[in-house]
Amino acid sequence: MDTSSPSAFVNGALLRRFIGQKVRTVIQVTGSEIGSVVGKSTDDLQIVVRGSSPPSPLTTYLEVIGIAESDNAIRAETWTNFGNTFDTQNYNELCKLANGEFKHLFI
């Protein structure tokens, strides 16, 4: 397992704690333009993801791994379609636990 460049699980609210660092999150796609995708985080905040070559077509849910640029923007390195059914509530809880009570278990 590659541990040289870890990416933190984040939701919309946690993004600000990782500005300049590598993060991963899942958004529900609400719109896309050339070179950027706009979506809703699992805690209902808007996130703009920039970067080259998002997958086409996009499914409802999209995972992105990349660098947090601001408290609502990510520069994507990896895009992954997560399909049309995804339990955002569970994912949101995972983000909270991974940065809270069980932080020590995550790199």
Binding site: D87, N90, E93
Partner: protein
Amino acid sequence: MPVSLTPNAITAIHDGDVNLKPLLQVLEIKMIGRSQERSQERYRFLISDGVSAQHAMVAVQLNDRVKSGQFEKGSIVQLIDYICSDVKGRKLIVVLNMETIVQQSETIGNPTIFGETDTEAQKTFSGTGNIPPPNRVVFNEPMVQHSVNRAPPRGVNIQNQANNTPSFRPSVQPSYQPPASYRNHGPIMKNEAPARVIPIAALNPYQGRWAIKARVTAKGDIRRYNNAKGDGKVFSFDLLDYDGGEIRVTCFNALVDRFYDVTEVGKVYLISKGSLKPAQKNFNHLKNEWEIFLESTSTVELCPDEDGSIPKQQFSFRPISDIENAENNTILDVIGVVTSVNPSVPILRKNGMETHRRILNLKDESGKAVEVTLWGEFCNRDGRQLEEMVDSAFHPVLAIKAGKVSDFSGKSVGTISSTQLFINPDFPEAHKLRTWFDYGGKDTASFSISRDTMPGGVSRNEIRKNVSQIKEEGLGRSDKPDWITVKATISFIKTDSFCYTACPLMIGDKQCNKKVTRSGTNRWLCDRCNQESDECDYRYLLQVQIQDHTGLTWITAFQETGEEIMGCPAKKLYAMKYELEKEEEFAEIVRDRLFHQYMLKLKIKEESYGDEQRVKMTVVKVDKVNYTSESKYMLDLLVR
């Protein structure tokens, strides 16, 4: 005005007069011990018309009034409902209802025990070797000596009578009341006339001949069973008569064929002959301590000219707030407005059969709401109708006859086989509820006496364990099997023997499935059916090793669950391995089935094989893991 007893009343009762409503005096009250099989006490009165006295049994529904001292020695009473039946050649008066006219009085007249001079009857009685049970009424007791006081009591106001007997009606339809065609001519006394119609409340096991006229209020399906005595079938129906008496009628086997098609819910029948047995209270919720078992001599005849005097259905609705304090398994009637209906979901019953369940919510004027669980057929038939109504924003009134209270999670009401549902019924209670709901009740908040489902979509009657807990907690060692769910991965499947040869013959609507043995050339013999067949079925009997993060164990999977685990029918695998001898392909299929994770519902029970005790674990349901609900379940464990 002094009270005078009705002259010759005892004789008149003996001759079958049930409309006389005589005034009689109670000379003696005696508690007859508890009868053999029922722990119900009964009272026996000695009643007198001033000349004759006769023992009379008092119906158990009057017990409370006897205990509270409403009737005492010397009381003058008016018999309102009563019958005189013929028990083994002797006359037995049973009092169903009576009122006290004068609480206390000196003994009137000089009564002697009725029938004292009937030496013939005495002979038959004392001459037999059969000693009657102690609780049986004994007529020929020595003459009772009472102090005689002919002076009538003073200051008695007979006008009380009207107030003391608030409402009574003739309990027996006089139209069907042939006179008893026998007199005490000789030692053999047999009444050849058709049995007289009596109220259901008066039925008891000591009557030989009786008839009741009643409406069928509910009818069960034919159930098939298989026990040590062999296969059989049974069905029962419930009756209600003019006086509100109710009783269940059950019949078996050939009688099912005879009576099942005859009986129809809502129609009135004359039913005669049959034996009375104590009601099985765990299945029978009717207010009667007896149940009728029909016999080959029984008759069930339709009364085409019934006039609607027998009610269609008898309800005693309880407000939902009452259910909160009702005991588990109580059977009751409830009426309310349906506020929501959940979809029907398949449920695996403990016996491995699948059924359906649908939950709906009911509220009433008590300010409380309750969950109602519909099972089986109710889900589709009535459940769908209710769902469509609620979906179209109409909230129907639902009356539930004979629902069962469950205390599993808060309190809820479930259907049982004899439950009946009435959607938007034409009852006064229903109209009252409708008005309440439409004019405000709709918007009032009702507190639910049922608890909501557990988080994570885990069915609330599911007990989750891990593999090591099965051993640690000694599951299966108690009287009843344990039913648990484990999330586990299949790590090994035994393949040297994975199925058995099963009997393909049908027993009723089910396949026999017992193991068959080869007899002669390619014939298969079933011990149970005692028949041979050309072919046999192959059914799974699969030994599977499962494993989770705590340990591993062996479980057994039969046909349905086996097929779920193997992904194809046993017959196909058998043919592949033994007939086509494609060992490689077979091994590949088995390998492919390993290391899948499932939710496995297990039945765990310790069984003894010879001296050895072995905990047997059978998988009754195999489900793929639902990751969403499983994540929720684990999150819930974390935050707890």
